[in-house]
């Protein structure tokens, strides 16, 4: 194993790989990625694979808009061969209460001011977009045709391939076991395969980001939360957009492969590293989805699984250098929307580490917002 590196990234998910590529491209020197499983074995490979620009805060809109621009041509951008199965079938966000309608309309004004092509649709128009949608009780929806789907494994492996071409070293099946901090500065990463001396560490450990923070003596308010999901057998294309509903707390899309992927958020899910599947999820998911999209009742579920959201109290990530430990950066706490903004997060983290001007101002994502009491709440999350 390498003994010394300019930057060590802990976590080989899509965020870690995107940061690694962008750092190498920016000339950060020797970049190393430590991953305790294989690449994308954690939250990345377990996520719902959706990509949307319909957000409720300006920063999240910008992060996702710029990420979609990159995803549209990712193999060309990264100069490596591959297909990320990017499909822009749109996202249909359903509104069932007056409060939600008001919030969505407010979001639309914001999104449109940032050139995000989302629009309000009536229940009838929603039915034209998704013919099998049950519009009972539906007050309307917002639709952005440029939102969509990408394959998380393929995106991660494309970033990893591009990074490796630029000299990034990947150590999979290698666990970070501790960090050395000397005089308020990062000094080394200890791993299950040996020690690496470095002055810059990036914590991209997702649900385990808090534990990595502890290794540096840094307290991060990021906690793991299980989210369950299932996939059906593949069928002929019948649903173009992702259907998402904050009221029923669910999302459901048909992937380019033909299978339907769907999940629900559970309000009572405790803080836990548990990623086991539950039978309650199957019946709850089935009951809710067959009400909204009745013909899906005929589809066979072939597999269910779970993964961890890396939750922040305000459902917004922590991005940046720790105010107390120099050289310790965090890119975690994505609260369920890390995959879709990972292309831009990689650019921003690289710009931060290199001391370059930032593409998008993201000071509000710094970890000390919690001590200042300036939370940055994202209203639109399942």
């Amino acid at each position: 194993m390498i003994k010394q590196a300019d930057v060590v990234i802990i976590g080989g998910g899509v965020v870690g790989c995107s940061i690694a590529y962008n750092l190498a491209k920016a000339g950060a020197g020797q970049v190393v990625v430590i991953e305790r499983g294989y690449l994308a074995s954690g939250a990345t490979g377990r996520c719902g694979a959706g990509v949307r620009m319909q957000w409720g805060t300006e920063t999240n809109c910008l992060l996702s808009r710029e990420s979609v621009r990159l995803l549209e041509n990712l193999p060309e951008v990264l100069e490596v061969d591959g297909d990320i199965e990017f499909k822009q079938g749109g996202y249909l966000l359903l509104a069932y209460s007056e409060k939600m309608v008001a919030q969505f309309k407010q979001n639309l004004t914001l999104q449109n001011s940032l050139s995000i092509p989302a629009q309000w649709v009536t229940p009838d128009q929603a039915k034209e977009i998704v013919p099998h949608l049950n519009t009972d009780g539906l007050l309307g929806a917002t639709f952005c045709p440029k939102d969509g789907h990408a394959n998380p494994f393929k995106v991660t492996s494309l970033y990893a391939k591009a990074a490796a071409k630029l000299g990034v070293k990947f150590y999979t099946y290698t666990e970070a076991t501790g960090l050395s901090v000397k005089a308020g500065k990062v000094a080394a990463v200890h791993t299950s395969q040996g020690d690496i001396a470095t002055n810059t560490i990036i914590n991209a450990a997702g649900g385990y980001a808090k534990a990595v923070g502890c290794m540096a003596g840094v307290e991060l308010p990021i906690f793991p939360e299980r989210h369950e999901i299932l996939v059906t057998e593949p069928v002929e294309p019948m649903q173009t957009p992702m259907v998402m509903c904050f009221y029923h707390n669910l999302y459901c899309q048909q992937t380019p492969h033909g299978s339907f992927i769907m999940g629900i958020g559970h309000p009572d899910e405790p803080e836990t590293f548990n990623i086991k599947s539950s039978w309650q999820f199957l019946s709850e998911m089935a009951a809710r989805i067959t009400k909204i999209l009745p013909p899906l009742a005929n589809l066979n579920v072939i597999r269910q699984w779970a993964g961890l959201y890396d939750m922040c109290p305000d459902r917004t990530p922590i991005l940046g250098q720790d105010p107390t430990v120099k050289g310790f950066y965090t890119a975690a706490g994505f609260s369920g929307h890390g995959f879709m903004i990972s292309p831009v997060v990689g650019q921003l983290m690289a710009q931060m580490v290199m001391g370059q001007p930032l593409l998008i101002p993201i000071n509000m994502f710094s970890a000390d917002r919690f001590t200042r009491g300036q939370l940055f709440v994202e209203p639109s999350v399942v």
Binding site: Y38, L282, S283, A286, I289, L299, V301, W305
Partner: protein, 91 residues
């Protein structure tokens, strides 16, 4: 065997596909599965996983018994969303 040999029937993956991916450095069933979807179809790998495990063992020159099997996830057999939705109330 000169014809293309299908090793995963659900996802149409050939033996050559698998061998190529092993050569590219995917040395576990979990990684192979995520690279090409082998074992992710309706049969959930019942047919192909033992075969692919053998191929992996051959390539890595180790006993098949040492190849770690991927996670087996519920449900055991495909079941329709309609049946599951009705399942919460007793007949």
């Amino acid at each position: 065997m000169t014809e293309p040999v299908i090793i995963c029937r659900c996802e149409d993956i050939t033996l050559a596909d698998i061998q190529e991916r092993i050569e590219q450095g995917n040395h576990s069933l979990e990684e192979l599965k995520r690279e090409c979807r082998c074992g992710m179809g309706p049969c959930q790998g019942r047919t192909c996983m033992p075969l692919i495990a053998q191929e992996l063992a051959k390539s890595l020159s180790k006993p098949t018994g040492e190849v770690i099997l991927p996670s087996f996830r519920p449900p055991t057999a495909p079941i329709s969303l309609g049946a599951l939705a009705r399942g919460s109330s007793h007949d």
